[in-house]
Symmetry: C2
Subunit: 356 residues, 2 copies
């Protein structure tokens, strides 16, 4: 049989707990659908700093590179926040993106029925919101040259934002293709009235747009996009933007759904390789107590099935199992109205496994 | 008597209409409070492109530099959107900021009672929201070197983000001082986990913080801030941040109040000099029809009185006149529930003048 190899990075905080539940789901799909998965665990983030002296050990990179996909829990925590740059979990995150060539970050922002009320937006504004932010992930100001120097006005710092047409084309094509599979609307976000990189961005998007005549393209300035997401979230389908803007807008979009604790994300490279992780963080305050909600991680696994492996049958099965469990009223503490009836992380995982 | 000189820039779209009402208010305060104002009009933005071939004519700069303050209506419109960079209104805006040394942009985001319902946020979330974004306005990626070049992967574009300690200290001190006059809470927003300029920003803010022991300081990452503004807007008092982040966050903050059409802003330089303008744009679609709401521009004048001239008595009088007129149920079309009863721009201006 075709054995798929998955690198599993549990990470920090609630990472190990939520990843454990996703692994149970993985095993269940082997039984039900006859797949074969080989998993290999690797250290990353804070725990790797503690155990190996670096957030991204060589061995972890090797494990990821030899895998077909990576499942990541969460990384970081206050313990490492004051470390020097090389010894911080974020540095590992930027490193793994670059080393694995994960140039595209997909952040679907959807509203879960049972969490509609959790949004701070009025329900009638949120109605119908289902958007996807496609964020460029290995270019721009994140990866350009950085320096400190003495200037005429004291110490100064410099960050450089660079984009070339190849990078822009690659992410734009992906966004157009994703839009073709959805509601066929693409908003390309830039700051072309100020930035040279944005002008190249816009020119490049416009140049390839005729190849996707079925997709309705609009250009939106980043400041305006931050407003329109609030004013008319349901009017967006796919949003494509550069790294820094994508960081800000994807988090804004996720928060406005009210469902941030349940959202999955994918970081993709060339071919079908991808790294999948929940949008939520490592939540160190509730770590190790069995309180974490494993659904976003399990949905990240479903996204992996669909996107990297083309196992859409299993992806559908996982997603509908989750929907069913939620419909039956089962909740972990973060989403429970009556906290006294809340399920533990493993109880929620078991119910989902049983529902597949 | 002490004659104050005000440069008046009507600009494009609804700019001339709303500025005319603010000028009527200006004259009324001369009568009531015995002030003397000398106003000089200047061309700027689209109209300056049309009449002088440049968005920021030398003459306009001269008028502004010889004034104590500048009142600006609005600039821009589709007519100039496809012009080359030097012939675009935005280029004038960036130029005037740099030439007049307007390093600080104050964007108060408050909720008007009569517009509470206009927000897409739930009223209980919005309750108590009253924040001020202090945006650095003459540094960062807006003004750093920009270039195009041929690289290994085709054409590439570069933007440079630069900050020195002097620039950061200046804006940070102003933000601390503003916080001292408000609820004494300051959120400094950066991306210190990725950007070198942000690390210098955070170090500098931390270094001067002990001089403002009465202000409670927190550091918030920009992506998190975009989320927290949505989740708990009322918990913010003053937010200070660099140019690009400030562009995005100040618009997000303005939009969430639901009152964006009524918000004023100030751009300040060294000393008491300042440029005051409404947050809303030039609204070319309704220009020349007497439909525009002049309140944001009149509030910008009140902000000028308070901030540049120290005329707080008159500023208070203007603000309470506006409150009274609104309380009595008077509305322009943009904020009217019953559009058939909406007042024109001049009717609203006249009512406010009469109420002072
Ligand atoms: C931790 C940080 C470096 C990272 C980013 O800015 O990309 C995070 O905010 C994210 O969005 O994954
Ligand atoms: C028009 C544009 C250059 C400007 C900016 O980005 O500063 C505008 O968005 C603003 O916020 O005043």
């Amino acid at each position: 049989a075709d054995v798929k190899k998955i690198a599993v990075i549990a990470g920090d905080g609630i990472g190990p707990e939520v990843v454990a539940e996703a692994e149970k789901v993985l095993r269940k799909t082997e039984e039900v659908f006859g797949y074969s998965f080989e998993t290999e665990h690797a250290l990353f983030g804070g725990i790797a700093i503690d155990e190996k002296g670096t957030p991204l050990p060589e061995e972890t990179l090797r494990v990821c590179k030899s895998a077909d996909a990576v499942l990541l829990g969460a990384v970081g925590g206050p313990k490492w926040d004051n470390n020097s740059k090389e010894l911080r979990p974020e540095t590992g995150l930027l490193g793994i993106r670059k080393e694995l060539g994960l140039f595209s970050n997909l952040r679907p922002a959807v509203v879960f029925d049972c969490l509609k009320e959790a949004s701070t937006l009025k329900p009638e504004v949120l109605e119908g919101t289902d958007l996807m932010v496609v964020r460029e992930l290995t270019g721009g100001i994140y990866f350009g040259d950085k320096l400190r120097r003495q200037g005429a006005h004291g110490e100064e710092a410099v960050d450089t934002c660079v984009y070339n047409v190849t990078e822009i084309e690659r992410i734009a094509r992906q966004a157009f293709e994703i839009a073709q599979g959805r509601r066929k609307k693409l908003a390309s976000v830039d700051k072309a009235n100020v930035l040279e990189t944005s002008r190249l961005w816009r020119e490049t998007v416009n140049r390839i747009a005729p190849e996707y005549p079925d997709v309705e393209l609009e250009h939106v300035l980043v400041d305006n996009c931050a407003m329109q997401l609030l004013r008319r979230p349901s009017s967006f389908d796919v949003i494509v933007t550069e790294n820094m803007f994508g960081d800000i807008l994807s988090d804004e979009a996720a928060m406005l759904t009210g469902s941030i604790g349940m959202l999955a994300s994918a970081s993709l490279g060339e071919g079908s390789f991808g790294l999948y992780e929940p949008v939520h963080g490592s939540a160190p305050d509730i770590a190790g107590q069995g309180l974490a909600n494993p659904i976003a991680t399990i949905l990240s696994l479903a996204l992996m099935f669909r996107t990297t492996f083309g196992y859409s049958e299993a992806a559908d099965a996982i997603e509908s199992a989750i929907a069913r469990v939620l419909d039956e009223g089962h909740r972990t503490a973060d989403i429970a109205v009556d906290k006294s009836k809340a399920l533990s992380t493993t109880q929620m995982g078991d119910l989902i496994v049983a529902a597949i």
